[in-house]
Amino acid sequence: MSKFKYTEENEKEFARIAKKYPKIDAMMLPALWLVQEQEGWVSPDAMVFVADKLGKTPIEVYEFATFYTMFNLKPIGTYHIELCKTLSCMVMGAPELKKFVKDTLGIGPGETSEDGKFHFSEVECQGACGGAPMIALNNQYHENMSVDKLKKIIEECK
């Protein structure tokens, strides 16, 4: 039995989305997105909750959640900085941005700052190659990024 619960609003949202599909199985991604949007991460307890809702076993949900890289399987900082590292971003200066994050916040890929405010991820192509280099801050894209621009963004978050 899971202690996790959707908010009333998310419970309604789950029911609304579920009607769109021929089988409840298709709710795996939407259900996990609702969890992550509500909690910021997908806990083992929430996976049990999703399994109960979809008639799956918890391990099936775990296998699914671990395949898709966007689900946070542990709590992350308030601000999630995702730096694209793939080719066009590399050519246009992503390595300098990575170094700047390390120098400024003291965190490397996969790490959270001591105050719990920032989490840094190095991610594969984000489909923003024309605006390389780019970062996403809590899903919001910031393209044509420079050290100066990133410095300003981090200052605003502090």
Binding site: P22, L29, P30, F67, L87, V91, E124, G127, G130
Partner: protein
């Protein structure tokens, strides 16, 4: 002659607030619907066949013949699935449609669903595109409220169409059509074994067609203006236009609609504005990271259509040109790309799962100064063991790009042996 932009799919991109229904309606959106519903579904499919419309997601397969793979209409539900996963490095064209003309995609879905007899369409979009997903959902909501979709089309045609956006979870392989279907069905995005003969896709055991966002968005113009309006552009074998993307150090990176067959170097100079800050072009990956790399000399001889690209030993892919300037280490490029592929291999087939890891490890060994000629032979050998021995074309794509870099820039790898 200078390269010119063509405005078919991108016609409304520059109009302020083009994503809003009110603006879209004033600028020609949904005009194809009356024409579509005055035709029989098979007639639309024939029109699309005659247009020669080819899939814009990378494979370049003809769209009309693909629709014909659907079985005759019976009591079973049938589906249209629109592929907006767009995870191929260098590719960022579908997001322009989500951002600037989502109603064009909805219009294309109505025409295409009617043609194949589908009533439910799912648009699978990569999870990272949250902002674009929200914008598309707003447009779908507007279309429902206006009665454009729902129980009746355009409030008058007795044909139900429902559209649902399905947000992915960050897995490159879900751009592969069968992996995409598995993913919607609530499973890991593992590609399916392909049948011996050509047949449609199957969604929960029911017939389905999977098309790319740009492909579906090309349909309304063909329906409204006839196939001749499309075949006047492009080449004989690749009629029409494509949204070509340019990234890297050119003056004007971005997405541009061009007819097929333009000379690549002219596109880079006339449309891309040429290289930035006096840089020189060293190499180019023509259609997303999976296509064999071209040297600067090969770029001079390249034309942007499928057959021409095959002739010079590469592929057109998604049309996403990734420009690499002089001064970039091609060993670093290979390392960057193999890290991507190693990370994104779904792990289902051993040659791919182990092969990407093996090449990744070997290139890092070379970069650490511990490599030898034998390691380059190993990379080529591993590429051979991956090619054609897996369920999907992920592993052959890895072979294409990595082998081409090692073969064309072998001397750069050898430099690391000497140091």
């Amino acid at each position: 002659m200078a390269v010119e932009l063509v405005k078919i799919v991108s016609k409304n991109f520059d109009i302020p607030d083009s994503h809003k229904l009110e603006v879209a309606l004033k600028n020609g959106r949904y005009e194809s619907i009356d024409k579509a519903f005055s035709m029989q579904p098979d007639e639309i499919t024939e029109e699309v066949c005659k247009s020669g419309l080819r899939g814009k997601g990378g494979g370049g397969a003809a769209c009309g013949p693909k629709w014909k793979l659907m079985p005759p209409v019976d009591e079973r539900p049938r589906y249209l699935i629109v592929n907006g996963d767009e995870s191929e490095p260098g590719t960022f064209k579908d997001r322009q449609i989500f951002q600037y003309d989502p109603h064009l995609l909805i219009e294309g879905i109505i025409c295409s669903s009617y043609a194949i007899g589908a009533h439910d369409a799912y648009i699978y979009i990569r999870g990272e595109y949250k902002w674009f997903i929200d914008r598309l959902n707003e447009a779908i909501e507007e279309a429902y409220e206006a009665g454009i979709i729902g129980e009746k089309v355009m409030n008058k045609y007795d044909y139900r169409i429902d559209i649902t956006v399905h947000r992915g979870g960050g897995a490159y392989i879900c751009g592969e059509k069968s992996a995409l279907i598995e993913s919607i069905e609530g499973k890991r995005g593992h590609p399916r074994l392909k049948p011996h003969g050509k047949e449609c896709e199957w969604f929960y055991g029911m017939p389905a067609t999977v098309n790319n966002v740009e492909t579906i968005s090309s349909v309304p113009n063909i329906v409204l203006n006839g196939y001749e309006s499309y075949t006047k552009w492009g080449t004989e074998k690749a009629p029409g236009t494509m949204l070509f993307a340019m990234s890297g150090p050119v003056k004007n990176p971005g997405v541009y609609e061009l007819q097929y067959g333009e000379k690549m170097i002219d596109v880079i100079n006339d449309i891309g504005g040429g290289m930035k800050n006096g840089m020189k072009l060293k190499a180019l990956i023509p259609g997303g990271a999976s296509c064999p790399i071209l040297t600067a000399e090969e770029v001079e001889k390249a034309y942007l259509d499928y057959e021409s690209m095959w002739d010079i030993g590469s592929t057109l892919g998604t049309g996403g040109m990734m420009i690499i300037p002089e001064g970039t280490s091609m060993v670093d490029v290979a390392k960057n790309l193999i890290e991507f592929y190693h990370h994104e291999s779904c792990g289902q087939c051993t040659p791919c799962r182990e092969g990407t890891g093996w090449i990744d490890k070997t290139i890092k060994k070379i970069l650490d100064g511990n490599g030898s000629e034998k390691d380059l032979d190993t990379i080529i050998d591993v590429c051979g063991t991956m090619n054609g021995k897996t369920i999907c074309v992920f592993a052959p794509a890895v072979k294409d790009i990595i082998q081409s870099i090692v073969e064309k820039y072998r001397h750069e790898f050898e430099e690391h042996f000497k140091s």
